[in-house]
């Protein structure tokens, strides 16, 4: 058990800080409502390209795939400085950098890797994820979107939902059922799909953060032809490929988001120090102060959980604590946003900009649902960590 800053870490931090200082975009990131999100996507891609040119793209990716190959401790330093520099969120580039890329690195063919990985790193395109369906959410293995093999192609029919930026993405990760007689996990195939293929229609879903958000889509696939060479892993072997992706999603990719949330509580404390609606700083009111302190302590604990989890991973001892971190993080940040609304008082009635508190509050209702709802996380903790009897599960 130790905390120390080595000379190498100090130098690395300086390097990161200097580079971010010189390169973080000065312009504000466009919001989702500008030109249906295209301006935001182009902004994200330009920032990705800047990072690529500076040698900072694909930080966790191995060097042989064009990444930076950073160790976990260096990743944390990067994310800390990134948050301090108020660098833009990874945003629309998240799926490509944190899901599709790592999955292709782990399971893709040499051709798939050579073709796609440089494009992701360079910021040529964004990716989207076609996993959930209207009737397969938490029960993801119940997907019905059908893919038939026709010569050297898959022919896909069905629809996917909650596809972030489906209308803006060039490529997608798609889970399809290739064996209609199979049940659940067997008979699923993981494939790359060119989102500009004929037969794809992406309809934006209006959400409660609206009225003009363009984040989620329902995507319809009608006789969409996908070359078999796009399949990642084996036909009918897609479930294990999908779990590679989910593993990344629940792993270190969240460290950056956690550091960001830890900064938000400090911002909220600053806000509470300014005069409130009654002219007095909210922080002088015991109830607000108590809630602020609780969340501040929880945010500290959340980071400690992440560090310990990363320490375990580094010793090749991956714990089953990913679900606990995710659960704790989701609920704590939801309370943080609710507290922000209470501190704002009447000013909270104004629908803020993308990074303003009211918008963050509304969006916070998605964090206990997305990427495995809190209810599913609790099942995982109960059954896989504590060994409690399994609940109902179709076969």
């Amino acid at each position: 058990m130790r905390i120390e800053v080595t000379r190498e870490e100090e130098l690395f931090r300086e390097e990161v800080r200097d580079w971010l200082h010189d390169n973080v975009p000065k312009d504000e990131r466009p919001t989702e409502d500008v030109d249906m999100g295209r301006a935001m996507r182009d902004f994200d891609l330009a920032w990705q390209k800047t990072q690529y040119e500076g040698g900072w793209a694909g930080l966790a990716w191995p060097k042989e795939f064009g990444g930076r190959g950073l160790a976990i401790d260096e990743m944390l330093i990067w994310h800390e400085e990134y948050a301090r520099a108020h660098a833009p969120r990874i945003g629309t580039c998240f799926v490509g950098i944190n899901h599709a890329g790592p999955t292709l690195i782990a399971r893709g063919t040499a051709e798939q890797q050579t073709f796609h990985l440089p494009q992701i790193l360079r910021g040529d395109h964004i990716w989207c994820q076609g996993f959930s369906e209207p009737t397969a959410g938490s029960d993801l293995a119940n997907i019905k979107t059908r893919a038939e093999v026709d010569g050297d192609h898959l022919v896909v029919n069905g629809s996917k939902i909650w596809t972030s930026y489906g209308h803006l993405a060039k490529y997608g990760e798609l889970l399809v059922r290739t064996d209609p007689d199979s049940r659940k996990h067997a008979g699923i195939t993981w494939t790359i799909v060119d989102m500009e293929s004929p037969g794809i229609e992406a309809r934006p879903i209006s959400t409660m953060t609206g009225p003009d958000d363009h984040h989620f889509c329902q995507v319809f696939y009608n006789d969409v032809r996908i070359p078999l060479s796009n399949v990642v892993g084996e036909i009918n072997g897609g479930w294990s490929v999908a779990n590679t992706t989910l593993g990344f999603e629940r792993g270190t990719a969240f460290a950056a988001e956690q550091i960001h949330q830890a900064m938000l509580i400090e911002n909220l404390i600053d806000l509470a120090r300014r005069p409130g609606p009654d002219g007095r700083p909210r922080i002088e009111d015991g109830e607000y102060a108590s809630r602020l302190a609780m969340i501040r302590a929880e945010m500290a604990a959340m980071r400690a959980m992440t560090y310990r989890s990363l320490n375990n991973a580094k010793r090749n001892n991956p714990g089953s604590d990913g679900s606990m971190i995710r659960l704790y993080f989701s609920e704590a940040q939801q309370r943080l946003k609710r507290l922000a609304m209470d501190i704002l008082g009447p000013a909270g009635l104004e629908l803020s900009g993308d990074e303003g508190w009211t918008r963050l509050y509304l969006r916070s209702f998605s964090v206990t649902i997305a990427a495995g709802s809190c209810d599913i996380q609790r099942n995982i903790i109960g059954e896989r960590v504590l060994g409690l009897p399994r609940g109902p599960r179709a076969q």
Binding site: A300, M302, R315, Y328, P389, G391
Partner: protein, 338 residues
Amino acid sequence: MIDLLPTTDQEAIADGIADFLRAKMPVTRLRPQSSSRNPDPQYWRAMGEMGFFSLGLNAEAGGVGGSVIEEVLAFREFGRFLVSPRILGSVIGARVASQAGDADLVSGIISGATPVGLAALHRDVEGFGFPGAVHLIEADAAWFVFWDERSAWLAERADFSDLVPLPGVDGTIQVASARIEHAPRRRIEAAIEPIGRRAALLICATMVGMSEAALAEAVEYVKLREQFGQPIGAFQAVKHRCSDMATRVNAAWSQTLLATACAHHEMRDATFQTIAAKIVATDAAIRNAGADIQNHGGMGFTREVEAHHFLKRAHLLDQVGGDMQLQKKLLMRQAPAL
């Protein structure tokens, strides 16, 4: 780099302590048929011989020479086995006595001959002022240790006035109300050694141990107890309560380790992280104990099950060194540096 994992040597020390406690002091010793009195004084000499009260004292002071890390790992085990709070009084009391240069008192405490109780202070966020009111915990002790953010004091029983023994919330631990007119002679300023912060870390570790034991007890029970033809642990309402308990343990232990590492390396952040740890660890201990009671149904409300002890001890320790509401106020006076 931040490494929060104990070394195998450190873990071995904690395992040795756990082995002793499992063999000699299982929590079943607190069941009513044994006695409604505190059973732990009879083990005190043996624990002293094992070096339990001097793990973190240096060798010149007669101690084992470990660091705060070993102490924290030990106190997690003390919490798990509901060792009487006089263990905290003795370990912290020995530290104050040692700093005060009272070698005889140190050797009395660490041998187990002179157990030390605790005082919960009636105070505000600025600290404790003399004269002042206190509640004594382990009120039959001859010595009492207490602290605020600026000082730690070790007082003799005779230093207190108006001492009135009272029925205590935890029937096995004696409580008394009292007053203290003057600051005791044995006083160590936090600037010399932050003894109060160290005590807070040991309380955190105790709270984590209790949270874990409550979780383990609850999980074991809901796997066995059947209703509607299946173990109640299969029902999401029960399962999810257990998952929340496990998550609170993870958060509290991770934060306690981070705070301990910060204190061990004398980081600027140590005080902030320790206060945060006391908040989440106290929250975990009180809520996990409540969940343990709930998971046991009617049995959880009886004295046959240990669940109530976890709850009562958590409230006792919450009041030592400033309760959760006070910790929250203290936390708002700090800023994280990490």
